[in-house]
């Protein structure tokens, strides 16, 4: 079965540079969530989109922005990168904001290293 696809899997950037992460949800899933996970930490919710509209917002820095496109894929744009942005970034998807389940389907993550 098709899973959530994230790209790139690994990314190395310098401080103050810009990075873009992409997420392709499971086919027919209309809701996408972005999480950031630092080493030894639990995943922290950043932002989510339902039917191409922002549905919820968490601890996403102002330097970050995201959007969901007409084909339901999503991109997380990160600017003025800081050392502290080094983390695993996970995308997850669900159908209809998970009305009848608690399950989110996670991708394998994008590892961002800021030097």
């Amino acid at each position: 079965a098709a899973g959530v696809i994230q790209s790139p899997r690994h990314l190395i950037k310098e401080k103050r540079e810009t990075a873009t992460l992409k997420c392709y949800p499971i086919p027919r899933h209309d809701t996408v969530y972005w999480y950031q996970q630092g080493p030894g930490q639990d995943p922290q919710f950043l932002i989510s989109f339902y039917e191409k509209m922002q549905s919820d917002k968490g601890s996403i820095p102002d330097r970050f922005s995201a959007q969901q496109f007409s084909d339901y894929h999503s991109e997380l744009n990160m600017s003025s990168l800081e050392l502290g942005d080094s983390a695993l970034y996970f995308c997850a998807s669900s159908l209809g904001q998970g009305a009848n389940t608690g399950e989110l389907f996670f991708g394998e993550g994008s590892r961002l290293t800021v030097l």
Partner: protein, 111 residues
Amino acid sequence: GESVGLHLPTLSVQEGDNSIINCAYSNSASDYFIWYKQESGKGPQFIIDIRSNMDKRQGQRVTVLLNKTVKHLSLQIAATQPGDSAVYFCAEKSLAGKSTFGDGTTLTVKP
């Protein structure tokens, strides 16, 4: 080896024993409570969920218990296997769909 009641950051059990992982949650308005398993370098993987109006749900080798009085969630794994070694997170789901993760517990299964 089992632990009941308190959240522990690590838990070590013998292969074949039962494991109990505990979690405290904060938001009584959550409609689902979920357990995820995360292996090193991978994304969280759904194990089981329980709706807020239930107190017990069983899956294959796993049982989740929800105690709303004390805001406590537990995951019981029967006959723990080496492949169960991972970090386990509890999470609570809001009506908007996002899951808020709690502190993880690293489960180590000794052969």
